[in-house]
Structure formats: C-alpha cells, structure tokens
Subunit: 352 residues, 4 copies
C-alpha cells in the first residue's frame, strides 16, 4: 500500500452484530476509510438507530446489498446469511479483497458442508486464523499473504483450535478422545428475534444447544485440528448459552498419547505461542476469564494435566465478536494486504 | 411422627447461603417449627440484616453455635466450615437427626478425604441423595430411612450423579472415559468476601477453577458413579463460574461401552426416573435450562447419543441451593423421618 | 366456599409471562384446581414447551381462547392484549369471577383511557390493590369483597401507590410535586420479540422509556394517589429497563406539605402498614432490594426525609410478576371469595 | 510538548478500578509512556494478577506509593483513599501534573467538605469537566489550560452536571426543584470486599443507597449546577446500584421556570453541545442506553418536556469508569498540556 493511502472498506450486513463489530474495529484502524454500508430489510435506515454505539457513523444510511453498491472498494466484508456470499463475491472481481464473516467458505470437504449446512458448497477460501500451527511446520498465516478471499473462522472453532492445536501439532494428544464444552455469550446467536434469546429468558440461566455432535462448528474444529496434527481428529463438542452478551469460554480436554510425560505438555503450548501477539498462555496458576478479553482481540489460555484421568484440560477465553469474528477478520486482512498484523487491534480488554 | 406435632428444627450457620436456603425451604414446610438459629461472627445480629428475604424471621437474633443452643431440637442442620461438624454432632446425641450441609461425612475412603480436604476423616454418614440408583438394585433412599445422621451431597455431585448414574447402573458406559464440565452460579462459592466473587468481576464473565482434577467434588462424583455401576469410575471434572446467582448446568459425557446400541440408551434413563418426583427426563428435543429450576427441588435432564464419537452427552440442570443443598437435605430428612418425601418442596421453578 | 371444595380456575393467555406466573402461584394454592389453559397463536402447543418451569403442567395442551373453553370455571384469569377482555368477560356470565390481568378496566375516567390507550373504554372494575388506603378511611380491600370482576393493577402502579399512598392519606405531601423514577426487570415488557429486549441488548445496560409523562401507568398512579389523598395528584413518572428478569425498584419522592415535621413522617407509613401481611416497612437503616422479594408477594419499603430539599424519598421493591401481577391478582381473588387473603402466597423471596 | 516526545506517566493505586481504567486508556494514548505503578497492600504483586485484562503490562510489579517512586514523571494519577492525595501532591513539586481521581479537591467550600467527608479540606484544584458551561459564558475547559493540578469529577456529578447544566446556563430551570435518580454499575463502588457487592447479591437485584441527601456527590452536583446557572441550586439525589459492571444512567428532572416554552427547551441543549466531541444529544425519539457508551468517553443525552407536570426530564448515560473517571481525567490532562483533547480517547462503545 502506498504511504498515506487509506483502504476503502465496505461492510455488507452492517446492522448485525458481526457487521457492527467490524465497524467498531475499523473505526480504530489507522489505514482505513469506511465506505458503503449495506443491509437487507434495514436498507434506508440510519445506522444510529441500529448500532447506537457507533456514534461517529450515526448519520450514515444503509444502502441495499448489491454488487453495484459494494463495487469500487478495496475491501468488502460480508456479514450475510450463509449460502449467499459466494455469488456476490463473484460479481466483485478478483482484485477486491472479499472477507466472508459467514460459514460458506470455511470447510474444505463439500460432503461435510452439505451434511451440516445443506445446499451446494460454494468453494473453499483461505482460512483466516493466522496463528493456527500446521502439521509439518508453518502457520496458517502463510496462506493468507496476498489473499483476495478470506473465510473468517467461526467463533467456537477459533477458541477451540487455538486451545488444542499445539498439542496435536506436537503429537501429544490422542485424536479420538477429545471432548469440548464451551459457553458463549448471546451475541454469538446474532440479533435474531427468537424467544429463547430474550433477556428475560437468558439472564440467570445457562442452557445447552446443538448437543450430540450436531453443531455446525464441529466439523470446522475437526478440520483445524486435523490440519494441525496431520491425522484425523474427532471431537465431541457441546456448546452452551451463558448469561452474558459477549465471550466464549472453551473447556477443551483430550487424552494424552501414550508415553507423554506431564512435564513436557506445557512446553508445547509455550513454544507455539511465544511469538504471537494475540494468543497468551497465562502464567501457571492463573486461569482465563472472558471478562479479561472483552472487546479485545486476545485469546487467553491456560492448561493443566490431570494425571488421574490421563487427560490435558486446556481452557481458552476469547471475545466471540472480536478474536472470534471481527478482530480475527481484520487481523487476516492486515496479513493479506501486508499491513502490520495488529493494525487497528488491541490486546487489552475492557474490564471489569 | 404424631399427627399435628411439628418438628422442632435448629439451623447452625443461618447467615450463610446454605443455612438461609434451608430456612427458606422450611418456612414452606407444613410439619416444621423453626427453633434456634446460630452463627459464628454474626451471633447477636438480627436475621433481617443478614437474610433480608426471610421476612417472617427478620426479628430473630442469631445465637452462638454451641451444643447447648442446638440441644433439644428434633432436627439440627449444620452449615459449618468443614472439619467442625463431627465433634458438634457427637455432643447432640443419637436421637437428634443431624444433617451436615458440609463435606465432612460424604466420602467413604479416609485416604481420599485426607488427600482432598486434609486433616482427619470424621467418618461417613448416610448420603442424602435418595434417587441414586445402586448397583445390584435399589436406591440410596433405602439407606436413609430411619437415619439420625445425614451427609448432604455436594451441589456438583448431585447434578452429575443424577445425570450419569442410570448409564452406569445399566452397564452402558465405559468407566474410564467420563468427562464433565459444569457451570455454577456464584452462590455455590458461598458468601466469602473474595475479589473474584465481586459482582463487578462476575457479571459478563465466565471462568474455570479447580481444573485438572483438583476440585473436591471429583472423588464424591466418582464414589457415587462407582456405587451406581459397581465398578471403579474415574471422572475428568472441570467446574466453571457463571454470571448468575444460582443454578448448575452439568454437561456430562461418557463413552458408550462396546456393543451398546444408541437406541437402547434413552430407555435406561427413562426407567431410572419414571417414578421420581424430582428428577425429570425432558421429552426429546427439549434441553434443560437452569432458569426452569430456579428455586425448585427439581433436577431436569436430557441426553443425546453422538454416534460420530461414540459418546452419550447428558445435560443436567439443578438449583445448586435447592436440589443441590437445602432442598435435597429436606427431602432426605423427610425420608429419614417417614414424612412424605416431597413435604415442603416444590418442583416448580421461579421463571423467567 | 364449602370445606374441601376446590375452585376450578382457567387461565387465558397461559403462554405469556403474566399467565405463567398466575399458574406458578396457583400450583401452590391449597384451594385451587387448574382447569382450562388457553392461548392464541400457541393453541395446540404443550405447556412444557412454553413454560418449562411449570413441570407439573408440562403435558397440558393449550386450547383456543373462546368463551366455550373458559365457561364452567369458578375463576377465569385473562392475560390478554388490552381491548379484548371486556367482550370476553361479558360472555362468561356474572357468576364467574373474571380477573383481568390487563389494563382494560383499571381507569375510571374514559377520557383518560382514550388518551393513553385509544379505542373505547370498556368500563371500570374493582381495583385489585387491597392495601391501598382510601381518603376518609378504609382500604381498597373493602371494595373487593364479593366482587365478580377484578382489574389487576399495573406493576409500576402497585409499587408506587403502596410507596406514596400513606403520605397522601395522612395529608403530608404536596400533590403537585411528585417525581418517580422506577427500574423494572425485562419480564415487565412481556415475551414480545423486540430487538431491544434481546439478552445481548439488555445485559449490562440500563435505558429509559416512556419518558416525559407518556407511560400508560402514569394516570393509573395518579388515580390511586388521588384516591388515597382526596385531592388531585400529578406525577412525573419515568420508567427504566434494568438488566434483570424480575423486580421493580421505585424511587418515589414528593415535597412535604408546609408545616410537616420530619419526625412525623415515618409514623404515617408505620401505621398504614402495621397490619398488612405483604407490605413491610423495613427497620431504619435498611433499604429494599429487588432480590429480597424475588418470587414473593411482598412489597418492601423504606423512606428518608431530605431536609435540605424538603422532600421525602420512599423506595419500594416488588416482584413485578408476583405482587405486581399474579400474586396481587390471587390475593384479590382470595379477598373476593372470602378465602384467607394470603392463601397460596408467600412473603419469602428466593435469594440470593 | 516537543514533537515525538512521550509523556512519562505514573499511576498510584494501579490495582483499583479507577487506576486500572486509567492504564487501559493510556495504553491507547499515542503520546504516553507508562512509568511507575504503585499500590498499597498490593505492592510487590504482578499487575497481571490484579488487572488481568491489561495484558501488555502483565509483568509489571507494583511499587509502594511513595513520593520517591512517583517523582520524575510528567504526569501522576492518584487513585487513593480520600484525605491522602493533598500531602502526596505537595511532595511532587509544582511542575508535575498531578491528577486526583479521588474527591479531595473537588469542592470549593471547606464547610461542605467537612460535613460530607470529615477532616480538614485539602484545598480546591481545577475541576476536570471541560464541557461544563459556566454562567456568564465560557466552559470549564478554559480553567484547565496549563493546569498542574486537576480534580477529576465524581462519576455521578459528571453525568448529572452534563445533563442539567445547559438548562441552568440558559435560565430555563427553577433552581429549587431538581430531582435526580441515577443507577450505577457496581464498579462505581470500587473493589472493596463488602457483602452487598458480591455477585450473588448484585445479580438480579436493584437497590438504593445514600438516600435522603446523604450521598457525597450531592454537594458536588449542586456546586456544578450553581456554577452553570449563577444561582444556588439544590438537588434531591438518589443513587441506586444496578446489576451491571459499568455504566451510569441518570434520570434528571427539573421544574421549568415560569414562562419557558416547551419548544425552546431542546435548543438550549443542542447549542450547548453542538461542538463537543464527547457529549451527544441524540436525535428525537432515541433514548440513551448505558451499553452504547460501554468503554467509551461519551456522554449521551436525550430530553423530554412533560407539560402535564411542567418538568423537563433529561436522561444521561456514561461509562462511570471512562467519562466518569479515567477518560474524563485523560481528557483534562490533554487540555492541560495542550494536546488534542481527544488523544487516546474513543467515543465508540463496545456493544452489544
């Protein structure tokens, strides 16, 4: 990018939680100019009514989500219902960096896509999780440099993959006995008007959903861990809804491979993330809280070996809307375009 | 009990959350008269200052916790720090029904007690989980009839044991691959003045604790499941703190034993709890929420078989202070004294 | 009522928060048998799907809301959109006790009704706030004995009227300088699927609504205080939405009438509620919390005189769904039918 | 300041909520280098244990709060118990910009100080509320330019003064009939270990405190409004504690002066804040929420005239820790030192 030039960025789906968070992050980005904002049923509305926290953009009016409106920007973020981003991207041309916040282009296996999402698979795009260690060395970051299409990871897969990948990359874990239970804030479910998402129902309550392997993030987690370890991984994944707006706490446990010494386990995680700006292994004895990453692009980790059961337990905390969506997306955009990877991003949470 | 006679009941530790909840339940109990209330540092205070929701008892004044004050009641509940209830009970005599809300008399193996709690084991009392199925048939209920000592289960063990015991009792589960992650409201940590329990820290945040097998409820869970299945069970247990005052949501997963057909699994739970008033297996498709049991003595369950990983996932919701503490205690007292098991208890939650 | 006979009770609108809470209270009522349950769009659904906390009624199926379905019960509760209960009641006959949980029959002045609600006024029914002191002596209770129609008060008017009526009844307050700001839990807004009621929006947030005198409960509050004081009262009322499911905290302040001594103020409230089972003036120094009345039919009060500004500040806490709706309704039904006023009701909150 | 030079900043009381928030804001400040961090009982601890969200400072160790440790910095923030900052500041010299986050130097009248805080008044410092309009024209901003001592306003006075000052400055309001009820998140009470601040007590509950004119922020509010209007103002102020970590929602109502037309009221606020970056009067019909300013330095306002009672109701939302404490402090420091007033600050909240 030329010095002083600002990227022109459009956001489709600016009225949703993902789109709104992209805008919040971009308002702090030194190299970005916010261009067109679009919506579906909300086209014509002031952004101030829909995203009242984005005060500097309050008087912007949403336009309809069409290729014409989105054309002419350097970067286009798509916060759309799944099944729709592929066709739209095709009309935007190959020079534009298109970033899909949805699920359409994350999975590599069309059969898996069809089983979990239905309909035809729209093809796979470079996966926006820069820190993911790859079997055989390297990081997913290398696959993002120069990319003009990015598939932003799901929020749960971000947390769980960062939590467990070092163990698989180092060959420490059995690939067939992985159990993950994760709690998410309600913004992970979007702004949909469903009775169980009402404040009266959510406050003071925890509940599971997608139990028994049915959650769509399950194959995405398995794909990432397989990529990290080089062997097929299967995961029992149970998500739960927690009474908070933001945050994911993922409790990830896996059986240690035969012959692995407890003392060697911690080292694998230390080495995996020693040079990463946004993934933090806490000092021994300190455990992650979702509050500490509220509004931040950080993933905070801690682990313990349970010798009684022969398992390692890794707990990860992220903000589902930042590292789990908009922050991770901007981080990948920075990488794709050769900007500093941390531009516009903070590792500091808003707490308490 | 003679018709019309009311039990005289004392509560030691009436200023804490467990003691307060016992009083809340007893205020609804048709056969009970509330006698002495005691505290340690709070002796001399009006209960109205300490438990402002117990309006009918607001003018009661806490007495010191001594055998003299507690003597002369039919039933004495002890909500005391662990390590202290055994000696006190010994001074109350064998005719009094002494109910320990703490951990002193739950575990049967002194070595395990010492490892997890330190100090000398005070002996084992009948365990107050009436619905627990026992290997070889029968229920724990039978061991409570006529008892004059009751060890009230821990809150997590109540939820987890009710969730998994039917599977072990029916021989459906492998005893060495059990993983439990549970979320608890903050009242489970008591009224202790610790920074991480402040509202500012808790609201909007989830965090784990006791990770890696160190939580004291781990051996209690294993003891119960071993009792149900007749074979040694080991459990990977991770508790987490959730931003709500009450409630436990326990996500319990275990590998199916070889040759178990998915279709047979549900039946075991249906049969186990068909006749139980306080344990409810929900209709297929409906999942427990902690809100639905807020203030109730119910344990609500649902399960799914994940054929992809060969595991069953059972989710249980209880109110940690009711079914997990005070309600379970009163239920056991009713059983011990030959009262209707549900006297003073409700299965109906306060929701939303 | 004949000894041993149980009242047959129907609830129209059983899927909403008001209807569900009536059922929760009635499940504890010793003289009641729950009959027909009806809904509009939910007719045909199992109650267990809609009100999962009402476990004993889980298998009940909602019927359509028609006079035929509701006929033949002793008592019918109507939790319906405003404007619809009058016509339905007319078809149920004069022997049936019809209890309107909505607003249709609360206001006495048709012109005020039309200004705040629109449409034609359906007539005034006996107002279900038994403890309200009346100018010239007596209580509203006397107007409920033998009634076959009851208009259940709004939740805010319940709290505010109980807070301020003693001062007006005793002639201590200036009728033209009353300012009330109240915070309500989200269940007060019902189960309506509106974006601002989503958990993600509500948690961690407070916001006002109906500011500037527009809230429909304003004239109802003024009507009650005018009734208590015998002179026209005007009230500045601002409601706010708080991040909790239940509870109203009403901060009510009024200028003291000329010549009123601070020392005399407290006495008026003490005397007004000395004999009331559900309205509690706390001891000096203790202030109400909504937590202490969660799930209870209590209204808890405290007051202070601010000599610097010449005002009294009275703070009231109620559970909007209990004393503010379903509990107050059942209390009035008990009065109308000659049952003990507290039957089925508790003054004990579920806390913490 | 020379170009490129960074200010060296120390923070005393870095373990508290105010000190932690100053650090969070400063980590985003382009002209600042964070120097010594001190604590009292926490001296010697890693900051990572006390403020886990401040990841870039996790390995900093707190030093004792002494003049020696604090000396040599350009700016020193004091987050100390009241009564202690004056003596410490005296030892730091007149060249250092000392910013008192506490109450010691806010009030101008020593008699009022003594009545509300006790002890001897430590003198008055320039008051850090730049936007406050002053009677006779001008803003408080002008009194901060070049200052080397700043008294940071209390959180409630920030919200209430910004809400009502335009009306007093324009002569629209009667100075003797002002009623304010405000709800605050629990972080406003600090990290003190008090039972009523436990999460179990706070969640799901609202409660008042300091009722009847006793809250220490009352005279500070009156001082500010008197300064704005040029006439003595008295205020009835009632604070309440809300179940959220951050945020203040202040509902402020005042009687309109005789002859004021409702149509003129809005104009006064529009003109007062038309050029302010951090005070926003929302478009008609949109009301403030505390969520929209979470983590932001914004104060968001809306107002309505209630012609029925002759009052204006102004509602303000701020983040008590940002605009109400640390953000306001940094804004004032920027002004004092001739930096851009918004340096390091954002008007964009973290929502939902």
């Amino acid at each position: 990018m030329e010095p002083g030039k600002r990227l022109s960025v459009a956001v489709a789906g600016a009225s949703g939680y993902a789109g709104g968070e992209v805008l919040r992050v971009l308002l702090n980005h030194p190299h970005v100019e916010i261009g067109a904002l679009t919506g579906a049923s909300n086209a014509g509305s002031r952004l101030g009514e829909l995203q009242p926290h984005l005060l500097p953009l309050a008087d912007r009016v949403l336009q309809p989500t069409t290729p014409e409106v989105l054309a002419g920007h350097d970067v286009v973020f798509l916060g759309l219902p799944h099944g729709t981003s592929g066709a739209l991207a095709a009309q935007l041309g190959d020079d534009v960096l298109v970033v899909d916040l949805g699920a359409d282009h994350r999975l590599t296996d069309p059969a898996v896509w069809e089983r979990f999402y239905g309909g035809e698979h729209a093809g796979t795009w470079p996966y926006g999780l820069p820190e993911l260690p790859l079997a055989g060395g390297g990081r997913q970051r290398q696959n993002l440099v120069g990319a003009r299409r990015i598939a932003v990871p799901g929020c749960y897969p971000t947390a769980v993959s960062l939590a467990l990948a070092p163990g698989f990359a180092a060959g420490l874990l059995r690939p067939t006995d992985v159990v993950v239970v994760a709690a998410s804030g309600t913004s992970g479910a979007g702004k949909a008007l469903k009775p169980h998402l009402l404040g009266s129902e959510v406050m003071g309550s925890m509940s599971p959903y997608g139990v028994g392997g049915g959650h769509r993030h399950t194959p995405e987690i398995e794909q990432n861990l397989t990529l990290a370890g080089g062997r097929d991984v299967t995961v029992s994944f149970t998500p739960t809804l927690a009474p908070m707006s933001r945050g994911i706490l993922a409790t990830c446990t896996a059986a240690l491979a035969e012959g692995v010494a407890a003392a060697d386990v911690r080292t694998a995680w230390q080495e995996a993330y020693a040079d990463e700006a946004f993934v933090h292994l806490l000092p021994p004895g300190q455990w992650p809280t979702t509050a500490q990453v509220h509004g931040a692009n950080s993933c905070v980790l801690q682990l313990a070996v349970d010798e009684h059961t022969g398992r390692v337990v890794v707990v990860a905390a992220i903000d589902n809307l930042v590292k789990g969506t908009a922050g991770g997306a901007v981080q990948s955009v920075n990488t794709a375009l050769g900007l500093p990877e941390a531009a516009g991003l903070t590792s500091v949470g808003v707490a308490p």
